[in-house]
């Protein structure tokens, strides 16, 4: 039947709305002739159908899971060894275990919301107070064992294209395509959230793109950065030691002139006339920034500048907290 190949022939073309169910049908464009994978996911159109009118061939297609090779959503992983991942697992992880080891380490409490002391009758059922010495609650730092060795969890690549605000929204597209070529994953556009007349900024206009990479793509991107891109940048000594969000995530940026050292961009430089710079954020499994920096330096990232070490409560301070609770130590 024309336009409805998923339905059995002979059934009525008219489908009553309240009897319909939704499925994900296949993309109707012609597939490429070679066996290949695509970075860009195919578009799946949702169409309505009647379950009892579905052809058996289509039932089979819809019921194959995503990890099955026969599924149209299948994407092969680990077709080759992930160099950096192997290096981390075999060499770096045991060394990090030793480097981060602290004997008889105890849980370092974070700043938590405080209870009201009850001196006033209005304290009953009142919301908890803000933490002492901090606007937000901070997590407690757990002892470092073989179970929580810090590793690279994800990398966020983010670009803001100023020309997209000033000139034309389309100026953000080449940067978005470049990010796809570099990371191996299609980025999502970033839209502006507010209107500022002085900057000619309107709400909900495309001003950039962002992408999160994990797994083999992430390790490949990191290795390319550390081995190919960063050594070519003029006057690059390292990521700042002060960079960090306090909980183990480190960021740095690349200028537009530095971005062209990526092999995908360098290979055909004439195709990339106007590129924006990138912000790169490493999401690690470290609990603090110094720990994240130790791990990243093991993977090959250089650091420069004065290290910012956080105020960690001393042993005496922690002992005092315990004594209040009633825990005693005998040395």
């Amino acid at each position: 039947m024309a336009g409805r190949p998923h339905l059995k022939p002979g059934c009525s073309a008219y489908l009553r709305p309240f009897q319909q169910q939704r499925i994900q049908a296949l993309h109707t464009t012609s597939p490429v002739s070679k066996n290949s994978i695509s970075i860009v996911h195919p578009v799946h159109h949702r169409i309505r159908y009647k379950k009892n009118q579905l052809q058996p061939a289509y039932k089979e297609i819809l019921n194959t899971p995503k990890w099955d090779t026969r599924s149209h959503l299948f994407k092969p992983q680990y077709a080759q060894q992930s160099r950096l991942e192997e290096h981390y697992n075999t060499t770096i992880a045991p060394d990090l275990l030793l480097a981060n080891f602290v004997h008889d380490e105890r849980v370092i409490p974070g700043r938590k919301r405080q209870e009201w002391d009850g001196s006033s009758p209005y304290h009953v059922n009142r919301q908890k107070r803000a933490p002492a010495g901090s606007a937000i609650e901070t997590p407690e730092i757990k002892p470092r064992t073989f179970k929580n060795i810090p590793g690279l969890k994800a990398i966020w690549v983010n670009a803001f294209v100023r020309e997209a605000v000033r000139v034309n929204q389309e100026r953000a597209l080449p940067t978005m395509v470049m990010m796809q070529q570099i990371t191996g994953k299609k980025p999502r556009p970033v839209y502006s959230k507010s209107t500022v007349m002085t900057w000619r900024l309107r709400k909900n206009m495309m001003v950039g793109a962002k992408v999160k990479i994990q797994g083999p793509d992430m390790y490949q991107f990191f290795a390319t950065l550390v081995e190919v891109v960063l050594p070519r940048i003029k006057d690059f000594k390292g990521v700042e030691n002060t960079s960090g969000d306090m909980f183990g995530n480190v960021s740095f940026g690349l200028e537009p002139a530095d971005v062209k050292w990526f092999p995908e961009v360098e290979g055909n430089a004439e195709l990339w006339p106007n590129l924006a710079g990138l912000h790169i954020t490493f999401v690690t499994g470290a609990q603090t920034d110094p720990e994240a920096r130790i791990m990243l330096s093991a993977l090959g990232m250089p650091f420069v500048g004065k290290e910012r070490l956080y105020n960690v409560p001393s042993f005496e301070a922690l002992e005092a907290i315990d004594r209040k609770k009633g825990i005693k130590y005998d040395y």
């Binding site: 290949s36 080891f101 330096s297």
Partner: protein
């Protein structure tokens, strides 16, 4: 091109009604509806430099504008899902059995390796811990000296990601660690 028209529009669509007079996202874009009867379908898109005209159908000999047009279309095609659906793999019964066997064997290998690594790290951790306990019982001075850690800990650059083939210069007998620069950084 239908490609440019549909895809560009989708990505650059105004998500809420605009406050400004010229609310057209694509500038002063005039779009001719695609018609099965006309030989040519064209879209005019205003860019910073001038106007780009995307045409489907008969080729028109353009000047420098065609190069820019080609670049833009090429870029859009890279992020568009058009004509990128890979062919479905159809396996015979025997082939599917082979595939399943290989897949399960590989998953088993990966799992075994993962568990081995975890066990190794666990043993190492407890060895370190017990060694420190023993040292504390033996000598307080030695224990305190052993517990000192450099701050900050940094792995050297020479601790690089290994490559499949060795480096051109395998062993450098005259190598020395690079002297640390004690330059005062200006803010």
């Amino acid at each position: 091109m239908i490609l440019a028209q549909g895809f560009l529009r989708h990505i650059l669509r105004p998500r809420t009604p605009s406050l400004f007079a010229n609310s057209s996202v694509l500038g002063d874009a005039s779009v001719l509806a695609p018609s099965t009867f006309s030989q040519q379908t064209s879209i005019d898109v205003k860019t910073g430099n001038g106007t780009l005209m995307f045409t489907r159908g008969k080729r028109s000999r353009g000047g420098g504008e065609t190069q820019q047009k080609h670049k833009m279309v090429n870029m859009l095609s890279l992020i568009s899902p058009r004509q990128k659906q890979p062919r479905r793999i159809k396996l015979s019964y025997e082939d599917s059995l082979r595939h399943r066997t290989v897949h399960r064997a590989w998953q088993l290998v990966v799992r075994t390796k993962r568990e081995e690594r975890r066990l190794e790290l666990q043993k190492q951790y407890y060895k370190i811990k017990h060694a420190c306990d023993e040292l504390r019982k033996t000598s307080q001075v030695l224990y305190e000296s052993a517990m000192e850690k450099p701050s900050p800990i940094r792995f050297p650059m020479e601790y690089r990601i290994p490559t499949v083939t060795p480096p051109r210069r395998i062993w450098d007998a005259t190598w020395k660690p690079p002297a640390e620069e004690k330059k005062r950084r200006t803010v």
